[in-house]
Amino acid sequence: MNTSTDRQILAQSRSVTASRAGLPTASDAVYTVYVAVLIIAIVAVPVVRSIVLGLARPEILATIVTPDSYRGVGVIAAVLAVGALLIGRTRGPVVPSPFLTEFLAGSHLARSDTLRRPFMISVAVLALSAVTVSGIVVGARFLGGPTSAIPAALIVVGSIAYSGVLAVLWLIGQSCPRRTTIPLAIVILGSAIAVGLGVDIVMLATPWGWLALLWESLGSAAPIPWWPVIALALSPLVFLAAPALLNFLRGPELMAQARRWQSIGTLVQTGDIAGASGALRTPPTRGRHYRISFTGPMPIAILRRDIGSARRFPVRIALGSLALVVAGWLNAQTASATDGLDWVVALVGVLLAYLAAGVWCDGLRNANENVGPSSLYGRGALIMICSHALLPGLACLLLGSIGVIAAVVGGAPIGVLPWWMLVSVFIVLVRILDCAKGPMPIGLLLPVVTPVGDVSILNVIAWQADALIIVLTTAGGLSVLFSTVGPGAAIWLTAGIGIVAALAGRRIRALGA
């Protein structure tokens, strides 16, 4: 079958779905545009403006415009490339609906044709993100002092070109096997280290190095380097590989991603964030022959069960452990961060700790799912939940303390260690609170009419993100307070621990324990 026939088939296939009954009407489209304009005007513009103004503050801008900042740009760009490669197998750039995956991508038509549209949407999203991020940073530099217009424009354009490179790497991550992508990711990571050390040859030979060199030109009076400009201008040539990579995508793997992300979308819409994140956790494939001992008192048996099952997810556990170490280090750095940055350091630290603790919470989630009359287990819900909370608690305390001790060795006050202990307990209790959430109350979906439209979505978002809000405001905010007033903050956090423990107990009882 020739290409023109294929195109005709594809066009007619799309016309079938386009002509279906119950399509959105013109008024639906107008309403969508109205909502989009409102969101941009009321939310996006003020947020972007405040970020630009925040970055343009002298003490923060001083960090961005240091002479070595270009190395940081190169490292960040390279790490993004590694991330794009590695995330492809979990969520690639090409994830059509399961229906289109089965009946369009599964047809005899070339996947370079049937999957081009979803890929181009991902490319557009990446390009838009690149424009936004680079625009914000360049805008902050303009506000902060004299900046040349041409290099600034080149950075924005270069970021768009680099987003194309990221898109193709993302597609490589989705279509190629791990045995190809992991070595490639290691090579890129190695080059990121070289870029961080300022090795010239790596700067000149890699897309992340080109972006870094463009950034360097922004702050120097020297002429704009021609090589990174030309190289990034030619980088869209990487899209020539896209058709072959699309054709290399395997049907079963496409379907697995399509089903997984459809179910995640449904779970998020219904407020089941825990279920959605559960769908992201791939089932174990190794360690089936590990023998998990259940001997000893119940808490010890459960701790053994949780440790044994954690061994079946070595990559997830390794990443979570590393994140906890970094979180502890960040929390201990809050006191030494400059004014304004201390909030960023504290919030990122506790957010990272909360997310990383989640990889140790599989047993805790299972215990919460088994609260109530139909429980699989013969022990009370509180005993089960408290026992399953031991492992995430120990992980936070021990792994986070490694990061804290590293910070202490680097000059942080020793008092940050007991503070981290309190933060760890608080975070695990919030994890328990979140696990015991149950289904979203249907009342939150009722319309809340205001002059700007239905804002019931705010209720839903608040309900979905309550644990994150509690962690950021309490643990994050009090970490900043601890860095200034010391032990007084510990009293507040202890009170917070008591309140969260009481709330968690109430939720567990409400689930039918």
């Binding site: 088939i9 079938v16 279906r20 609906s97 995956t101 049907g251």
Partner: protein, 210 residues
């Protein structure tokens, strides 16, 4: 028309055997029934034959070529229905079939005709304007089978097609599959229904419990 062959095909994960080695050939115009107890690997075998799963031992072939889902020609040759497909909740039953027929090159009225014919053959014409969530479990199964029958193929693979169907529908389905066989398709079905196997299959292969 094509033939399909399993040559010492097996599947395992670590030391867990999902499918013990099995060999057979189903030629054009011939139907082969795969039988065995629960867990013997029938669905695993069908997934391997349709290219959805790579065997850990042996190989499946279509006309002497290794089965590879990545090849367009291979996707055109094999029509497999293993479990329920990914339905689109926004499409009616008829729109589903029309869309699928179109993607396989049956354009315009040809797609509509293919959808009409398949629905009529399975006795579900009256469901043409129903959405999938408005179908009973048996009707959903019939629509699922229709998605495999509305498109062209040389090899038809069906996993327990009799599930959730009453005796009348099972007979209707057997008749439709026989028509495919008479047309020259090679058919492989896994089934626990003796009636279905007797009505469709020329030969059968029993899988050892793995």
């Amino acid at each position: 028309m094509s033939s399909i062959e399993a040559r010492d095909v097996s599947a395992s994960i670590d030391s867990e055997v999902l499918l013990a080695p099995v060999s057979f050939t189903a030629n054009s115009g011939e139907a082969l029934a795969v039988q065995g107890r629960n867990g013997s690997g029938k669905t695993t075998l069908l997934r391997i034959l349709s290219g959805q799963l790579r065997p850990t031992g042996g190989q499946a072939f279509i006309d002497g070529e290794p089965v590879d889902e990545g090849h367009r020609a291979m996707r055109r040759t094999i029509s497999a229905r293993i479990g329920l497909p990914a339905f689109a909740r926004e499409l009616t039953a008829h729109e589903h079939l029309r869309f699928i027929a179109t993607t396989w090159g049956r354009l315009g009225s040809a797609a509509t005709d293919a959808a009409d014919t398949t629905m009529a053959a399975l006795g579900i014409s009256h469901l043409r304007n129903r959405f999938v969530n408005e179908l009973s479990s048996g009707q959903t199964q019939l629509l699922s089978l229709a998605t495999a029958l509305v498109r062209p193929c040389d090899v038809l693979i069906l996993d327990e097609p009799e599930q959730r169907l009453d005796a009348t529908r099972r007979a209707l389905l057997a008749s439709v599959v026989r028509t495919e066989i008479d047309r020259g398709a090679a058919v492989v079905i896994a089934s626990h229904s003796r009636d279905m196997v007797e009505a469709i299959a020329d030969r059968s292969v029993s899988l050892a419990e793995s």
